[in-house]
């Protein structure tokens, strides 16, 4: 990945120099790696799905057509369910008595480890599906690797989630095709969406010491291999959708070390307010 300083001034949480750091680990990641790398890995996996699931749930009752209302609600349910399994396991391995609800509702933005891509707003339907496609392609490839992990708990949750992720990828890739190879308007919107989200994709493949340490503990992921397969898959879909792969290689990152765009704080405020206002409440 050729990374140059991004310097988008609408993203105050991201220092301009950081994207130039290449494979040099950022401070937050180094601090986190002192803990159990499997816990950190599960936070990344679980938080990606929790935040994306929440984003999709915002469309429930607001989908552009009935079928998509139902589809996005179903995908949200799958993702939040996967997140619950992953964060439950993270809490057990961490051993501090935090269950999946405590981890979802009582951590602040700086403690979330999701990638920046999933916290981006839904925008128009093209943006919702472009975000979904870019993530699903990564998710399927990553979960496929982790389903063969020697750590039994991680392999189980990955294999379970993989089956659902394949349905999501099929759905989102078909929308990229349909809108890209559709009308002038739908094509323009999908091209704009891919262009707007592209800068958040580099982060998905940045390996740091969490990956290295997790590999030593039975959950190895070859992120450069995942990236090569992701490139092939995404290029193929974009080409068939008559869409251009963005050539701008300026990439933003920070999510894996808790440095998020402004959007995450707003999302968490909505997601966490009931649990925080009424701790321990059941309904």
């Amino acid at each position: 990945m050729t990374a140059k300083a991004a310097g988008h001034d609408d993203e105050p949480g991201i220092a301009a120099g950081e994207a130039a750091a290449g494979t040099r680990p950022v401070a937050g990641a180094r601090r986190a790696a002192l803990g159990d790398p499997l816990v950190e890995l599960l936070f990344r996996l679980g938080d990606d799905r929790l935040i994306l699931g929440h984003r999709l749930s915002e469309l429930t009752g607001h989908g552009p057509i009935l079928e998509e209302d139902i589809a996005t609600a179903n995908m949200a349910l799958d993702l939040i369910g996967q997140a619950a399994s992953m964060l439950k396991l993270a809490g057990e391995l961490e051993g501090k008595g935090r269950d999946e609800d405590a981890l979802a509702y009582f951590r602040d933005a700086v403690q979330f480890r999701n990638c920046l891509l999933v916290e981006q707003p839904n925008g128009d339907f093209a943006q919702t599906m472009a975000r979904q496609f870019l993530f699903d392609a990564y998710s399927v490839l990553l979960l496929d690797e982790l389903s063969r992990a020697s750590h039994a708990g991680i392999a189980a949750v990955a294999a379970k989630s993989l089956k659902e992720a394949k349905y999501h990828l099929r759905h989102s890739s078909e929308w990229v095709l349909r809108l890209g190879d559709g009308t002038d308007e739908s094509h323009a919107r999908m091209q704009r969406a891919i262009g707007a989200l592209w800068r958040f994709t580099g982060e998905l493949f940045v390996a740091d010491e969490v990956e290295a340490a997790a590999a030593a503990k039975g959950a190895a992921v070859d992120l450069s291999g995942v990236q090569a397969r992701w490139d092939t898959m995404v290029d193929d879909v974009l080409a068939r959708a008559t869409l251009r792969r963005p050539t701008d290689t300026a990439m933003q990152r920070g999510g894996r070390s808790g440095r998020h765009t402004e959007h995450l704080g707003h999302l968490l405020a909505t997601m966490q307010i009931v649990a925080r206002s009424h701790p321990g409440a059941t309904w």
């Binding site: 139902i70 939040i80 399927v140 949750v157 089956k163 349905y167 990828l169």
Partner: protein
Amino acid sequence: MLTTPRAWEVIGTVPDPEVPVISVVELGIVRDVAVDAEGAVAVTITPTYSGCPAMYEIEKDIRTALTEAGASSVTVRTVLSPAWTTDWIGPEAREKLRAYGIAPPGRAEQGGLITLTRARQPVTCPWCGSRDTELKSEFGSTACKAIHVCRACRQPFDEFKAL
């Protein structure tokens, strides 16, 4: 005194809350049942979909049924591996689904990755048996179903998705 075969029978009367024509045993989510000398029952289940909201309901229904049948205590444990597959739904249960108006699942895809451009096999209409049907949405009224419409009899119908 509750025996293990009797406990299986009892759980076999608990319907799937979302597809009540088949039991949770026929659905394939009950992985193990063990009754100890004191009549305490340990049940192992596996979720259909990760976020399936019916799992809580199912666990509660299993507890109630076993307690009413004389279990001294009931423990329900959830496991994720091996991941649930619709291939565990037997031929009798598939026929019950079809009679209820839900097209039974095809064979689940094996292996890790998928072909995005696969040609879809048409799903047979559970009402009239026609193969002239069209997929409307891969996501339906519950996590486990897709929506189709039959061109021959003009009826919409659910398909139990292969997983």
